[in-house]
Symmetry: C2
Subunit: 697 residues, 2 copies
Amino acid sequence: MVRVPGVFDAERVAVVGATEREGSVGAAVMENLLEDFGGEIRPVNPGADRVFGLPCVDDIAETDADLAVIVVPPTVALDVVESAGQAGIENLVVITAGFGEAGGEGATRERKLQELAETYDLNLVGPNCLGVVSTPSGLNATFGPRNALSGRMSFMSQSGALVTAILEWAGDRGHGFKDVVSLGNKAVLDETDFVETWGEDPDTDVVLGYLEGIENGTEFVETAREVTRETPVVVLKSGRTEAGAQAASSHTGAIAGSEAAYEAGLEKAGVIRADSTEELFDFGAMLAGGRLPTADGVAVVTNAGGPGVIATDAIGDSELELATFEDETRRTLQESLPPTANVYNPVDVIGDAPAERFGDALDVVLSDPGVGAAVVIACPSAVLSFDRLAQTLVEARKREDVPIAVCLMGGASVEGPSETLSDVETPTYFDPTRAVRSLAALERYRTIRKRRYEPPASFDVDRDAARSVLERVKSQGDNRLGIEAMELLDAYGIQTPEGDIVDSPGEAKELAERIGGDVVMKVVSPDILHKTDIGGVEVGVPLRDVEDTYEALVSRARNYRPDARLLGVQVQELIDLDDSVETIVGMNRDPQFGPLVLFGLGGVFVEVLEDTTVRIAPLSEAEAAGMLEDIDSTPLLRGARGREPVDEAGIVETIQRLSQLVVDFPAIVELDINPLVATADGVVAVDIRLTVDHETL
Amino acid sequence: MVRVPGVFDAERVAVVGATEREGSVGAAVMENLLEDFGGEIRPVNPGADRVFGLPCVDDIAETDADLAVIVVPPTVALDVVESAGQAGIENLVVITAGFGEAGGEGATRERKLQELAETYDLNLVGPNCLGVVSTPSGLNATFGPRNALSGRMSFMSQSGALVTAILEWAGDRGHGFKDVVSLGNKAVLDETDFVETWGEDPDTDVVLGYLEGIENGTEFVETAREVTRETPVVVLKSGRTEAGAQAASSHTGAIAGSEAAYEAGLEKAGVIRADSTEELFDFGAMLAGGRLPTADGVAVVTNAGGPGVIATDAIGDSELELATFEDETRRTLQESLPPTANVYNPVDVIGDAPAERFGDALDVVLSDPGVGAAVVIACPSAVLSFDRLAQTLVEARKREDVPIAVCLMGGASVEGPSETLSDVETPTYFDPTRAVRSLAALERYRTIRKRRYEPPASFDVDRDAARSVLERVKSQGDNRLGIEAMELLDAYGIQTPEGDIVDSPGEAKELAERIGGDVVMKVVSPDILHKTDIGGVEVGVPLRDVEDTYEALVSRARNYRPDARLLGVQVQELIDLDDSVETIVGMNRDPQFGPLVLFGLGGVFVEVLEDTTVRIAPLSEAEAAGMLEDIDSTPLLRGARGREPVDEAGIVETIQRLSQLVVDFPAIVELDINPLVATADGVVAVDIRLTVDHETL
């Protein structure tokens, strides 16, 4: 049960380590609380009677606090936490550093802190953090800057310094917050808890996060996936690049997961990613407006052609599209605008436009059914008052329910008007590109809201058969398998070539006869991984040669390695590769996010162009189908270059069946179907490789 | 001869149409000139005796002006220009609108304006522009905002409104300018003239441009290529996307060229592209610092881990690389920094660092030979004074010659310090990503400076033979050719399969015998474009079947189209495609930039993945070789997947020979060698298609 809200809704805050000593953290926290906090403050310090005029007690247990902020040295912090726990104070913010991030003794201390939190069921923020802010009650329990504007964004940060920086900077830009938390070492409460909390908070319209890692990827994805159906979440995840990941891990002491897993995890969670600090808050401010595009098209209204073209380029680069107006819209614009105005999109109200003309044009284009959002661009001119324009746009916002991105392309003269607009949750920009990119975040969130959240399909499979393959493997002591594990795919209804493993030339011939036509023969031995290299594979063997080939394969294997365990020879239907496309479906397990399923086209597409996509299992049909949209080479499945389109549904189903298999058997740590051959008539898994962890079975 | 400087260096400026009428352009220009201009002002207006207290004359010819700014109505503007020309006034800024942009009569007026400029050899800016600014003399001959900070950037803009916006905004950000020009309709002076002028101007450190189109691409590339060897040029070229190009063309009345051609043209010119208005000035301000990285590595010095990781990610995303320090550097850092500091890159001087600690750490890392640039990131803290940090960095800048990007991650408290740094040409940022991206522009320019500017190779070719092929084609009245034009390649030393066109079965057999092995036979007819479809091609014909095949091919062609002109049958060596890679080398002509040469791998790489690159001919060896680096599928040429690397030098030479061919013969408007088959032993052009414009021959 998450009861995080207690941290932000506290009415009586104890500061353990409160002091008036200048430059100390204890004094800074006290001063921040005294500034604005609407509740009561309880200083705790055995060495003082009063702190900043407030009566001071010796022990946290003597207070009636519902939140304890701890700034005492690390050596005594655990005692304070225990004392708070015993006193029934459930909400703690441990600002004190010297825990996990310090290694050695600190790490031990952090484990003990976690045990205490467990024992007393504590909501504990930190340790090693800047503190928390909640603007409705004026709570600023940080040693950072004094004030945050109130607003509808809530922000969590794995960097305390970034919180300080953001709070200083955001105020000037008109960005306001509901809650802010510095996550610190995330010993107890982590990003998942805050996403959940803010997802339920009616006063938070958008959740923003700066994260260097995610503690429990699977849990985060599950929680955020629910939250993002109603509340947008935007994350700047750093450590994306190799160098960045190294820097993050040396900085936090944690090992960063793979970027591909984070990408897939955040995608599945419906989290929007920002690429930079500015973008995080650009997106946040736009989403805090609480509006999404109501149709696919964007209208641009500008008093200058150039910036209109710049905005149009940015629209073309994004997931937005420039609206094509209906004839009626253009006619009405023509009537209301001067003859040299451009009534096509982008609408140019021309350089001599007063604010009212912007308003009139905006009204007309917003009544076009194809327009679901607008960009308004204003350059300074002798006749344009930015103040009046801001007023006009405030009124337009009241009348209309679509999002409007506003560029006021001036300097000092736009500061007041920007504030006016910011007060009605309408962020302003200088740069048209930046305005459009922010608007595109709304479109991205609109797409997330439109997602179908169907459960993963549950196919009728033979789970026992699969288990017995894995158990057989275990009893043989192998953990890396090849074709001898094809039965695993059969058990999960994934089409494999007709065939079997036989152990005599006679059986081989009999089987080949039943299959009909030429066959493929492969020696089967857990001790021979690269069969082709030792001549252990023969493709296109005619019936008459099957018995001889059997002998030849076995003797090559014996020559190569006399002690190799031979399980027999696989005789398999020869798959006609003409008019087929080779694909790969694979899986490996990420320590944070669990099974990552990979899809791509085989050969050069995966090896040279790295044109693959990964998603996190379990996968719904929509998610599996989405994988085919993710890669560049998909047209080759769809009849590019005059070929017949292949059975896409078969690929999608195979991805889902593989997803079910790896979710059912955590013992499978890696699995590749390579190739999964796709033709117009269906798909067939021609080869398999997997690694099994027997411990998990 | 470009004498543009006269426009900016004017000492006596006549304003034709000067007036005191409030809200008029004439009054605005007068007021702007009166504000700061160090030279003399000559109002011209037949209806006034004095304007703003200055004596006013009736006609421009009565003044001693060396620059005339024209704001009279379009109907009288031509007379004024003529009068100025007769009076020997060479520099004109025509602010007046109602020319080409208005179409109809306006277009006629613009042509007359161009004729006058030609007759009197005028340096004419505009028409339909905002005017010009030059800060050294305080010249502001615009009707826009009053002041520009002085600085070392010069800016040209195809949008007058953008000039107004930028001048308002740039001042607040500390961006200063040498010259600014609003290009207007570019009837006479265009971007090429200003790039050339500013390239020679010792007071311009960087040229910035907002362009919607380039008038003469070839000329621009030639000029800018020279200029960018010494002076960086950054351009925001709008109309990049399809929608943007449409918007630009409806706005300027000009047809936008293809984005691929602009991309190739600006690349060849050594022009750095910006993606947004903010980026244009971020790059500009950084380049105006006049320093380039002195080594490949970047050092990051920060007082907060998180922003350090963000910066490292941005470095990883860019052409920069994070420096790996020498042991000595780390040891020295260890001695001077607190024990919990991080002495690996990014260097974390930790949260309690005063300005001096930043300075010390910076000194140490800059003495590492692998460090050629630095990023300094400062978050607010109780002990850090941004003012002192700014001072420390100003001093560091004096001592060191590397570029330093500075992030002051605060709000109002960083304004003063930012100004201090801006005064020494060191731009500051809030966002670490933005700081790094700006620094990356320096690295991009450093690469441009390192380019080898070798002339295109001139191969010994048989130009007469090529001409006679084209003339023969002309005499036949065809303009689309195929294999019958293979001789064109032979003439330019591009390897083709052995073979020829013959016109009897006997000759065919004789030729096949000479070639040896199986051959390829194709019917040759200018009237049959898709030979394969009608059975007009036979691959792998053994010698014994050659005569019969000849007959069969010819009769299929006759059946298909009895009146088709048959030029015979081509008998060609059969190229073994095993162990080969099919590539494409092609060319088409861009109206602005001339011959665009294309390179890519054949088949799916060009058709599905569109993995191709284009460059502008003539191509040097380095440029041709660079094309192989541009595409993603190049590893397939280099032995990916266990194959033998192909003859890359052969491909590079073929590209150069094709470049020479299409430069020599402007009549070739399109040409594709598809495929150019590459093996380890060489390359061979198997098929060709071209389109010829006989008029040009």
